[in-house]
Symmetry: C2
Subunit: 449 residues, 2 copies
């Protein structure tokens, strides 16, 4: 299959199972979105551990205990918790886990000194802080279950790996802090610890692979799967899921290594049926593809965006190293800005409106010219909820891409889309459409079309 | 308490409890972040229903059933599910819920006709689609539990409200589709349905309020809470949580209406202790404050940003109506773009480097001048992971804000911050710092300082 690279080796659901318990009233109440559950699930999968559930509960000890009991009852070998390790009195996860594992808690003097050193260093930055209050927090954070493996604090909170007390059954519990950067920094040490390795011993490795399609309704891919099966592709050993994501379809599969040929046959069948739409048989995102194509062509890119308000530039710069190809962007919200910054003829705006094909084309050409980039993108649309007119509804977006290779002729393509969803969805989907247009113009330029 | 407005009336944990079950292997595996759990939790709270847990499970019927059983066993009156209502064979939530509620499933002819009409309309947009495959999906989506209240489809999937079969105990289950826009559009109808109202009858209303602080370590607020208590503020009737969010501390409280005076006394105590840091006693975000101040001053804003790559412009435009004050932005990634678009003297960049105070100041002044805005913001920093030097580590960001009222003198302030976290965290926190600087310069301008 052309373009089907080796998948990342993910890990499977044979045998070893785990659960994730995310604690925090602010997460349960919807005030803060949880980032730890999905991250932990993906990391556990890489280790061959199937996650059976991610459960979010409040800060109250009874709720945390109930979640541990219920997930523990599903035959998991490991439970990973996040949150509730801070210095304040409502952070109680370590105490609840100690009780669940049948272990007492003791103040760890070495750990106390270590956390205290971190806190003393930060006192320099907060000259008004109360030293005594901070030290009380240190003692709380240094009080840990007997026999637990202590993970070095990244903020001030140490992590813990707590096996059940001798003679007691149940999962080993990995206790991690809530801030995602601290949790992530602590993960490798947790996964390498002796009680963790013991708990997941025997995890079987499954492979995982994914592919992406653009410009196809989800029901179509379901039909194609049925037809592949009818045409003799053996899907019985593939666990397949499809989902819509940012305006694309992502197809994911997990399988035993022996079933790889079946997966490749499926992708070949899909490629035959949806050649235009299967832009990523290897699961690479359109962001990755655009970055690679720009680097390969030694091309640069600039944008002039209105309704997306900076999101397209932000998406093009969210990858490290993007300064190699991203030159800059113009966020041209006001009509005067469209003209002065991107060079859009004010007469065009008067004649066709700001959301129109001619304006999108001048934005793209203007981004190229003003920033000296090989590729320029123009986006103008109505993100809503206001701003719609009789013939220009919310969700209408005009996009254009200009390609001006050094010494070559300017090529300009434009497209009108009608996007569904609310303001954030429309803004985000418009960036996806823009990236696909960039990929297409770079692909046809590379092919000399 | 000055600035303490009436809080949104949220609702509480007395009596009526609910659980949320989010289904989807793509969510459980970490491929897609769940947005429905937090949204549903917040909506249920407004109705006086306490959410005891949000559980994310895979697409497999046994897992969904297990989650329903376990959450059902916690004494909840209502369970809300999201996901698994699509047209494909791996979408099985409705069938599992029917079984859990003791009800058979039947093809609903009226519903079938209704979904078919939606699908026929979309066929026009997908000329290559297979009509038969789509109609098979329609029949699957129109097969619903006997006696269920059907919620009108927003995409193609109908929602359901399913009470236990006559003579059977257990919670009522609300079955909603996975795409957040469809789920949200269906919510009001679900909450108004007769079985939903019956399930939550008697929910007691608690109030909820929040406040925000900036520039304070989290342990400090814990100390202040202890001191407030010691000084006689009665905290016993307040359920308080604090969390760090985008570089700010958010303090949230839930309380019975009779305890409002205690909450107000607490906020007054905090205001006395942290007058500078308590920028929002009423919970308004810095985004809301900046928007209000710009509107009140009839001021406009423009930005010139480097390391944040468009995120500051995107944040300033994510609110509907932002075109009233946001003129535009310059995303000046390359040094040439900094000079050509924002007018930064190339000699300054050579002398001090792109990440420096003089460059931040010229970016701010350039944003003002080039876009004709009252307020200009300049941001330049090292988001990492690469790009650090001996004296300019990852996380170093220089920011400047210029204020140029019509006919008034230009005021320019700059600030150096050292931000913690990974590339996305540094980029996001830099936008928070920028907004606080904008608020400060507008506040002092309004005060005539």
């Amino acid at each position: 299959v052309p373009g089907l690279s080796d998948p990342a080796v993910f890990v499977g659901r044979e045998g070893v199972r785990a659960g994730v318990v995310v604690t925090g009233t602010e997460v349960l109440s919807g005030a803060v979105a949880d980032r730890n559950g999905p991250w932990l699930s993906e990391r556990l999968a890489r280790l061959g551990v199937e996650v059976v559930a991610i459960e979010i509960v409040g800060d109250r000890p009874a709720e945390i205990r109930c979640a541990l009991e219920q997930i523990g009852a599903r035959g998991v070998s490991l439970i990973v918790t996040s949150g509730g390790l801070g210095p304040t009195a409502d952070d109680l996860t370590a105490a609840v886990v100690a009780e669940y594992c049948g272990r007492r808690q003791t103040l760890d003097g070495t750990l106390e000194a270590r956390i205290q050193a971190i806190v003393e260093a930060s006192l320099a930055r907060w000259p008004g802080a109360d030293r005594e209050a901070l030290l009380a927090g240190v003692r709380k954070q240094a009080t840990v279950p007997d026999g637990a493996t202590v993970l070095a604090p990244r903020g001030t909170a140490p992590g813990l790996v707590v096996a059940p007390a001798p003679g007691r059954a149940g999962p080993t519990v990995v206790v991690l802090p809530g801030p995602p950067s601290e949790l992530q920094a602590m993960w490798e040490e947790a996964a390498a610890s002796e009680p963790f390795r013991r708990a997941i011993a025997g995890a079987a490795v499954l492979e995982r692979a994914s592919a992406r399609l653009y410009g196809l309704p989800e029901a179509e891919i379901a039909r194609t799967l049925r037809e592949a099966s009818a045409a003799g592709v053996d899907l019985s050993g593939l666990e397949i899921t499809t989902c819509l994501r940012r305006g694309e379809i992502e197809l994911s599969a997990r399988f035993e290594p022996a079933r790889r040929a079946d997966y490749e046959a499926l992708i070949a069948f899909i490629a035959g049926r949806h050649r235009e739409q299967l832009f990523s048989p290897d699961g690479a995102t359109i962001d990755e593809q655009v970055a690679s194509m720009l680097l390969a062509a030694r091309a640069t890119i600039a944008v002039a965006e209105s309704c997306t308000g900076g999101l397209l530039a932000a998406r093009l710069t969210d990858r490290p190293g993007s300064s190699a190809y991203f030159i800059g962007g113009l966020v041209v919200y006001a009509n005067a800005a469209k003209s002065e910054l991107a060079g859009v003829d004010p007469a065009l705006i008067r004649a066709h409106g700001a959301v129109s094909e001619p304006v999108a084309r001048e934005l793209a050409a203007g981004a190229c010219a003003r920033l000296g980039a090989t590729v320029g993108v123009g986006v103008t649309g109505i993100a809503g909820p206001g701003g719609a007119t009789q013939d220009k509804p919310v969700g209408l977006v005009w996009l254009a891409v200009a390609h001006a290779p050094p010494g070559g002729a300017l090529r300009l393509r434009s497209e009108r889309v009608q996007l569904a969803g609310d303001r954030p969805a429309i803004r985000e989907r418009a960036t996806t459409v823009a990236l696909h247009m960039v990929a297409e113009i770079l692909r046809s330029a590379a092919a000399g079309v």
